[in-house]
Structures are given as structure tokens and as C-alpha cells.
Symmetry: C2
DNA sequence: AATTATTTGTGCGTATGTATC
DNA sequence: AGATACATACGCACAAATAAT
């Protein structure tokens, strides 16, 4: 015997449920009907049905009938989980994002299953596969190396094939239509640069991250501000760095050279607060004063920015609100998994002590 | 009929497995043996066994027999998860602790299932129950309101009954023997206070948290340092606060009164960096200078402490290392679930600019 | 190396209990 | 109250894999 009869019945019934588009609560044929249709004993039918109940396809009510189960319901034993994949979650803005999500999701009885990729696609693959093995109700992802074509996209597609909503935050993967909640990075870059231009700065250095979409977005905003102000952009003023270089990009020796070769610059747009803090520390050692010698605008408005000796002018990242929005979007998508929702959040400039009028 | 026969058989077999301490791979009685023993049909036995297989207790091999399954093995579909319950995880030290755990656990292919209690036992109960519904390989818990008798302890006991290791971090529940990784809070309070005493301070204010063990531990260390230095303790100098009061405890109006009534004090021991930061901000508005007017020592060495205008002298919390230790302990306990392990980590004093010699 | 007994897997038939409609 | 539908339970037969002889 190739495949046992009860398995044949199971396979038929699964196809039947999917093809005929049965929804939660729709009733299945009775056991005796199935006996006749498949010409097998009641025992065989019951075996098939009970396996399907166990797998979460069906549920039974004694005296009433057998019905199609809601795949997202808590009919199955496992608790409700939302997977969250981020690059990191230590320090900086991730705890706030996660906390915002938790506030919303825990209210609805969901727990967060956490995974970090450290911005490495190899780790991302491992993490996603691990998440696939758990029965998630939804998945929220901060993309890893979002500017590059990602070989893990088919894994995200697998979630959607299973009817599990996927939401990207912070950035998206190009060429992959999906729901997302992002900050308007271009606008952020624009208002940061415009602020310096408005203060009279013309020669403005830019330090941007090369391997995520945020860096590129903020850079584009930088260009837009210059274009609007009808000031020519000097591409020689831009410095790009990668995840791997993020800790070594700001060092006193190289920084000295870089600045000397670009004398006359009076403003700096800094990819984020962390880089800005490193910069300030370096400057301290070099006898460079902010904002006297350089006006600095950075991004994210992390805790650091407000507590430094020279408080940073920075573009506030929505953080907790972004997490909340993503979580609320998830709750919506779980009701209508076929939809794609988008949410672009406007950042806000916070002027502090690191910028001055020329 | 009260309970069906197959369920009676199931219950018996579960007890049998647990009581006789059967391990992974040990063989169960054969179906015919069980038929005789329970005097039921083969059908009933098979029904009981198949349910137990489904629940992950047993596995069968055709022609060979029925065997006890390894609860921690990946025989079951779900990915490997470690539950982590904390009071909060936003800002402050929790991201570091979690990050330390993640570094170790992700290496071994585990994901972290997160739950936050916001220091409320009602929420703790919900979170634990949610975790119980997921098949965890282990549970790491930061206790909620650890000084009070906790009505959720029986829930933690349930985990252990299922052979799932439970580790407490940060604090423990009184009267509940368990594995834990904690900071030596008493020692932390001792070295903080001793530092001020060594600098010549005698009248030292203390601000402590009332509803967790850390506060009490640090307070005890405070007392110990005074005792060792043979200086009498003035209990009037101590201020206690609760979770609910943590945001309002430091306010200019009340602070003024409090300090006036305790004139002559020159040092302050602050429950943690957050309180200390609030204190410094208040002092700024009141024209009080640190360390000129007061020497302040706080605890935790959070990111805040090093980036303030007046860099805080603080007792460094192991943070990431604590997370790593807890994770490594978990890996050990999963091999030997019956053991109880303990790890008390010594904190270290970091002297910065908020203290001075009298 | 082949046979045999043991053990689980598949399948049918029947009877009775119990909840629902 | 009765018909219907699922739940529990017993018994039998044979297949397939394994382990021991």
C-alpha cells in the first residue's frame, strides 16, 4: 500500500478545505457521509479527522458536527506570538521601538519572540528559519543590509504563503511589496540639512551609512535641501561607511586628515547620534569646539543626544511610536492578511546646542 | 463515566514516566502488556499512547517498541525558545542584559520569547501563563516586586515540574529555592557608602527603592559600611520610594524641604543612575553644585552616567555579563535540570566627577 | 543468512454513550 | 421525543518493521 487510506482522506480533505475556500466555522461533511464517499470504515474517517483536528485544521463539537478551524485562533495550544527580528536591540533606539510594540501587543495577549541578526544575512537566515518553526501569528522585521538584494526574501514569502502577516519597519527590501512602517528618512535628511543651510552654512560635510536604506534616504534629503537652496553640492564632502566600519570610522588620526582636506567646512550632517557622540569625543581631544568650529546635526534623538555636555541638535526618530504603529498595523493585518498597509512617519527637528548661526 | 478509560491510562502513564524517572530512550511497556495491566482493549491503549506521542511524551518505532521522548529535543516541530520575563526592557540596563543573553543563546540556536510585567503581579501572571502555553526550553525571570510574597510562585513551580529550568536574575523570591544570577547588592551598597566615608563624609543621605530586593540589599550594604567605620547611622537620613513613586520622588519643592530638614549632609547614596540624573537636574535649577555641595554615588553605571555634564561616580552593574552568565547557566541546567546553580556577581566602583574629598 | 516471534501500524465491524438540533 | 452526529470502547485480521533465534 503506497499511502494509508486515512492519509489519503486527510490529503483530500486539506485540498477540499483550501480549494473550496472554506472559512472559519464552515461545517464539514459528517462522518457517515465521508464513509460513503471514500468507501472506508468509520474508524478510518475518524483517524483522518482526529489528525486534522490535531494539526489545527478542524475542530469538532459532539452532537453537532465537524468544522473548519480558524488558523489564527487560539484553538491550538501554543500561546500567541509575534516574531520580531531586528539587527540589534542593545542601547540606542531599538529598546524604545520594542517597548512600543510590547505595550500594544501585550495588551492583546501576545508575546514577542525576539531574534537579532547583527546585520548579517547569514544570521538572518538562521533566525527566520527558527521563527518558521514556531507558530507565529505575525512577523515584524527590521531588514538586514536593506540596500542589497536579499537572498532571504523567499523565506519571508513563506510566511505570507502561510497567511502570516509580515511587516517591515525602519526600511524595506527593494522589489518586495509588503506592509511597512518607516520613518521618512529623506525628509529627515532634508530638514537636517535645511536647518544648517538656513543658519548660513554652505560647506556641509555629510557622514552616511552605506549599507542600509536609511543612510541613502538621509543622503537624498541632503541633496534635496541643497537643490532647493540652489547651492551646488560638493560630492567630495560626503563620507560613506559600512556596518563593519561603524566603530572605526571616527578616529582622531584619519579624521584630522579628512577635515584638513576639506577646510572651510562649517557644518556636519551625522548619520546618527552614536557617530555624532564619537565625533564630539574626538573633537574634544583635538581642541575643536562645537558649535564654534563646526555645527553638527545628527539623527534619532537617542537618550545620548540630550545628556551630552554639548546637547545635540538632532532629528527625532519616532522610536516608541514607530513600534506602536507597527504593532497596531499587525493587529489590523491579522484580521485581513491579504492587505498591504503602509505608514510613513514624519520626523521632527529638535534644535539644541550643537548648531549656531554663521 | 467520569473520565474515559484512555485518559485514565494516559494519566497513569504520565505519572509513571515522571515518578520512575525514565529518561530519553527508555522503553515503555508493550501494548499487549498494557492491555493486560489495565484490562482494556488494544484500541484504548493505542488511543492513549497516540495522544501521548502527540503531546511529546513518547515516540514509537514500528516493530521495536514505544519509548520516552526527550522533552528538549527537536523531535517536536517548534523551534527552541527561552522565555525571558523582565519588569521592563526599555532604556537603562535591561537591553544590555537581554543583549548578553541573546549573544550566548542565539549561538546555540535559541530564540528569546519576551514578556514584560511592568512590575505588576497581575501582568506577571498573564505573562507566565502565556509562556506556559508555549513549549519553552527554559525560563529566565527578573522577579516582580521581589520583596513581597508572590502569589505566582506556583506557576514557576509548574515549569520545574515539567522539567523546564527556571533561572532568576537580578533578585530572587524569598522562600523559593531556585537557580539564580544576581549582583551582590549588599556589597554594592557597601563599597558605594565606604567610598563616601573614606572621602570624609559622615552625614550621608540614602535614597532606596522599597519594593525590590536590590533596594534592600543596597541599604544593608549602606548600614554595613557605617558599622565597619564605627559611625552611627541616622535613620532619619533614609528616604524610601516605591515603583509607583519613582517618577515623582525627585521634585524640586519636596526635595528642598527634605534637604533643609537634614542640613549638614554632604553625601548622597542614590538607588540608581536614573534617580541620580533626576537629582542633578533638580539641583541645577536650585543652584546646588555637585560635587561641591553634595557628593553623589549611584548604582548601575548606565549609559547616562558617563555622558552627563557631571559624570557620575557609580557602582557598575555587570549588565551584559549578567545576561551572559544567566544564559550560560541555562545551557548547563538544560543538561541537568535537577540541579540548582547560583552565581553572585561582584560589582565594581567607578569613580568619576560626582564625588570629592571633604 | 533465514526463520520466527514480537511489536507497532492499518483497517474493518459492532455496540453503546452523550450532546445537539 | 426522536433523529442525528460525534465519543468511547471492544474485538478481530493482517501488514510491516524489528529483534532474537
Amino acid at each position: 500500500m503506497a499511502t494509508p487510506k486515512y492519509q489519503q482522506v486527510m490529503n483530500f480533505l486539506i485540498d477540499f478545505i483550501q480549494d473550496s475556500g472554506l472559512k472559519y466555522g464552515d461545517s464539514m461533511p459528517t462522518e457517515s457521509e465521508l464513509m460513503k464517499r471514500f468507501d472506508v470504515s468509520r474508524h478510518t474517517i475518524r483517524r483522518a479527522l482526529s489528525e486534522l483536528v490535531n494539526q489545527g485544521w478542524l475542530y469538532t463539537m459532539q452532537g453537532s458536527g465537524t468544522y473548519v478551524a480558524d488558523p489564527n485562533a487560539d484553538t491550538n495550544l501554543s500561546g500567541k506570538m509575534i516574531g520580531v527580528i531586528t539587527t540589534y536591540f542593545k542601547d540606542y533606539i531599538f529598546p524604545d521601538i520594542l517597548s512600543g510594540m510590547d505595550d500594544v501587543l501585550s495588551e492583546e495577549g501576545y508575546s514577542i519572540l525576539l531574534g537579532t541578526t547583527k546585520n548579517k544575512t547569514a544570521r538572518e537566515k538562521v533566525v527566520i528559519n527558527n521563527m518558521l518553526n514556531n507558530q507565529l501569528a505575525g512577523l515584524i522585521v527590521e531588514p538586514t543590509k536593506s540596500v542589497f538584494p536579499n537572498q532571504n526574501i523567499h523565506l519571508y514569502q513563506t510566511f505570507r504563503d502561510r497567511g502570516i502577516p509580515v511587516i517591515f519597519i525602519h526600511a524595506t527590501y527593494r522589489g518586495f511589496e509588503a506592509s511597512y512602517v518607516v520613518e521618512d528618512d529623506e525628509y529627515a535628511g532634508y530638514i537636517a540639512t535645511k536647518h544648517l543651510l538656513d543658519l548660513g552654512h554652505k560647506k556641509i560635510l555629510g557622514i552616511f551609512k552605506q549599507d542600509d536604506m536609511q543612510g541613502h534616504g538621509r543622503y537624498q534629503g541632503y541633496l534635496n535641501a541643497f537643490e532647493e537652496a540652489e547651492v551646488a553640492v560638493d560630492h567630495n564632502l560626503i563620507k560613506w561607511f559600512t556596518t563593519e566600519e561603524r566603530k572605526t570610522i571616527i578616529q582622531e588620526e584619519t579624521l584630522c586628515q579628512w577635515l584638513d582636506a576639506r577646510s572651510g567646512a562649517t557644518g556636519i550632517i551625522c548619520y546618527n547620534d552614536q557617530i555624532a557622540v564619537n565625533l564630539l569625543n574626538c573633537f574634544k581631544g583635538m581642541g575643536i569646539h562645537v558649535p564654534r568650529d563646526y555645527s553638527i546635526v545628527s539623527f534619532d534623538n537617542s537618550k545620548l543626544a540630550a545628556n551630552l555636555e554639548t546637547k545635540l541638535t538632532t532629528v527625532a526618530h519616532p522610536k516608541a511610536r514607530l513600534g506602536e504603529h507597527a504593532a497596531m498595523m499587525m493587529l489590523e493585518l491579522m484580521k485581513e492578511p491579504t492587505k498591504y498597509l503602509q505608514d510613513v512617519m514624519k520626523p521632527e527637528l529638535i534644535v539644541r546646542d550643537s548648531t549656531r548661526k554663521l
